[in-house]
Point group: C2
């Protein structure tokens, strides 16, 4: 077998990269759980017809086929595809288990998703997402639209300690955009949003041209859309700016006022609870058509060109089973993109790629059992320990530890000794009482350069 090469779009980490990823996942999970989100995991596959309900993403689905499916057998089976996000499976899970869940249901879900992108784009085709959602049966109070982005801000903020840059959550409200566009006389709201969504990519002039050419806007309507998109700020003055703009175009509507009320509540609460984190940014459009209220995007300050690493919004109908509709609000972190960036930019590093804090040396194969006993005594007290693979010269055994970043080597004898191979300090020690410094017990993730 020749040496295999990586598959483009399917990222994998070496052991020390995986330590970083695990740390990130655990930090996120801890914040989610402190806020009362229950963890669930759904199967990786969904019936193809469910995956294709939203047109936007259908082109990215991986379809499954059993290699040895017999002729005609699959005709009776549902065609399956890999999920491309965690929202579609969550909606299905909620419907399937509605009678056994308590609503409002707060859940987090951390899993891989797959997207069959064109190979040449260099985008991930397999990646980890970390989602939180709150879903109600029939109704869902507005205050969750304030709380959920703040939970994400706290989760991402817990990564500051390892060198993850500050985050800024950009918020908008779909009702504001829709109310404003309709007030202007532009009724193809989705079409307008789709063009505005291209602002960062192609710039305002090109967007204005598209609004005129493809949405049938007048130059003045296009100008108004761009003026709205240019408004941003961290306090309620944003709301006044939008209202003044709408008034100047005679475009104030009830829907706009409802949206502005919600946006104000969000910005004000966020300014109190997490000052500086949330910015109202009226150009945030979010391509997906199912958002009906607040929408969110999140950038790493100083790394805005990465795009949004955490997005989401409010949807009035996550799912519906005829008896109930299930409104919700949620956000999703693209964990693989974040971790990939942290590693490739050298922002963070793991102190070692193995859990082992102590390598127990082996004097000769006849006394391996004594070394095994030392390791067992250390592990029994929660100290990760490994035993040297062979009774090589001690210099070689120390090198084994050094190559792996294991900080301590233990020498069994009449009087056991333990050596810190970084400083060279070697002291008498007893496996039933000795402990490494807390900072050396497990691998840690730290800002690079520390």
């Amino acid at each position: 077998m020749a040496r295999p090469t990586p598959l483009s779009g399917f990222p994998e980490w070496l052991p020390d990269g995986r330590v970083v990823e695990q740390h990130v996942l655990e930090a996120l999970r801890r914040t989610f759980e402190l806020h009362g989100f229950a963890g669930i995991e759904t199967r990786a596959v969904e019936p193809l017809d469910q995956l294709l309900r939203k047109g936007e993403t259908s082109k990215e689905v991986y379809v499954l086929r059993r290699l040895q499916a017999e002729e005609g057998e699959d005709a009776s089976e549902k065609q399956l595809g890999l999920h491309f996000d965690l929202t579609v499976p969550f909606a299905r899970y909620v419907l399937e288990n509605a009678g056994r869940l308590a609503f409002p249901f707060k859940r987090y879900q951390i899993q891989k998703v797959w997207r069959g992108e064109r190979p040449q784009e260099g985008r991930f085709r397999e990646f980890v997402q970390a989602d939180i959602d709150v879903v109600g049966a029939g109704e869902l109070p507005y205050h969750y639209e304030v709380e959920l982005p703040l939970v994400m801000a706290e989760a991402l903020g817990s990564l500051r300690a390892i060198g993850v840059p500050e985050v800024r959550i950009l918020v908008n409200n779909r009702k504001v955009a829709e109310g404003f566009y309709r007030g202007l006389g532009l009724d193809d709201v989705e079409g307008v949003l789709r063009q505005v969504d291209k602002l960062d990519k192609i710039g305002p002039d090109a967007v204005a041209e598209l609004l005129v050419a493809e949405q049938g806007a007048t130059p003045e309507q296009a100008k108004a859309c761009l003026e709205l998109a240019a408004i941003s700020g961290t306090d309620a003055s944003v709301v006044e700016q939008v209202r003044a703009l709408a008034a100047s175009y005679d475009a104030v509507t009830d829907l706009l006022e409802t949206g502005l009320g919600e946006l104000r509540a969000l910005v004000e609460a966020a300014a109190r609870r997490a000052p500086g984190v949330v910015v109202a940014d009226l150009k945030i459009a979010r391509g997906l058509d199912y958002y009906t209220g607040s929408v969110y995007e999140t950038v790493l300050v100083g790394h805005e060109q990465l795009g949004s690493i955490c997005s989401g919004g409010r949807y009035d109908t996550l799912a519906s089973d005829g008896k109930n509709t299930y409104p919700g609000v949620g956000l999703s972190i693209g964990v693989s993109r974040l971790v990939s960036r942290l590693l490739s930019a050298g922002l963070v590093t793991a102190t070692r790629g193995v859990p082992t804090a102590v390598l127990v040396a082996v004097t000769d194969e006849e006394t391996r059992e004594a070394s095994d006993a030392v390791a067992a005594a250390l592990r029994a007290r929660g100290v990760p320990a490994d035993v040297a693979p062979t009774a090589a010269k001690f210099g070689k055994q120390i090198k084994y530890a050094d190559r792996r970043g294991i900080p301590f080597v233990w020498f069994p004898g009449e009087q056991d000794q333990v050596k810190d191979i970084r400083s060279g300090d070697q002291v008498d020690a007893d496996a039933t009482t000795w402990e490494p410094p807390a900072a050396d017990l497990w691998p840690r993730v730290v800002p690079a350069g520390e």
Copy 2:
């Protein structure tokens, strides 16, 4: 959308079942890490040609296809399939990263795998495996064949506290079987092993018939094979029994002696380090052809009909890149089967399905912020807290907590109070100092009935 129904073979748990699964995964992971195994995760897909290298499992592969792949585009792309175990991807990972890994390389890997089984069999098509392997470059000392099953015994033993039954690891050595069969004059070793592997299913008489009919054995040779398979025991006397049996058939070979030496070392070391856990059982065959030394199966005592929940063995060639071959030894736990059994048999239970220890009540929507502040103060000290969704009557808010198994409800006021809703006790409390009893802080997994 009509209420969806579960997909056969794709298990999912409700939140409290997921608490159990998470507990199991964390307990396993902790043991693996205490023993110095580094965690890795590989992508879910492998090139189809790699998945089909071993004939045995090829029938179970799920093949992927991009729904919108353009005509002819896929011709240049490698065909991909979902991995059906964690050994094939690990072998590829080792080859791909050989220059960046330190050998012997000890890794654990906990991931889902997929098998496109026939749907009507009621077997899992998606399930979680937890694997440990040690792999060397060029060589791998025998002592790892002793250590790895003991690590698994320790990992599974750490689940005794939650009600998982005792485990028994059944071991055999491929060299013993092969040496014995060849000594008898039966050279189609794999064929004989395949028949012997059916003993539990079809019984000794039917196996003897198959050995004669399909492997061309004489009735006496078949009888000898069954006599070997009937030998088992927990100490070195097993080795003497096999040797005596082989001598009686004049079937002693060098290979048999080598295998018996290894089996003796394993049984003796296991008897010292984990008395009663390891049983030499000469009928253990393991279907896969790549094992070359020790082989392992694991049963839950009292639930033997479940079959092996943790299997593996020694292989001389995990992978080879022309420059090096990579021998290894490893075992794999079928976590989903174990968790499914624990849940369906009612052996274990989670104390609650949400992380929340405290629900903070809301007196009226105007003071929601005060409730949010209490929850924030509790979370800052590591107490998982949720805030009531609406300012309903307190009775309804207590019911919200009760439905979710949340033990405490907090009432903000001039003097905050906290109520244990199980006992009804309500006391004054301060969110900056109060703590729940340790047993209530997080959901716990306990034997059912406790």
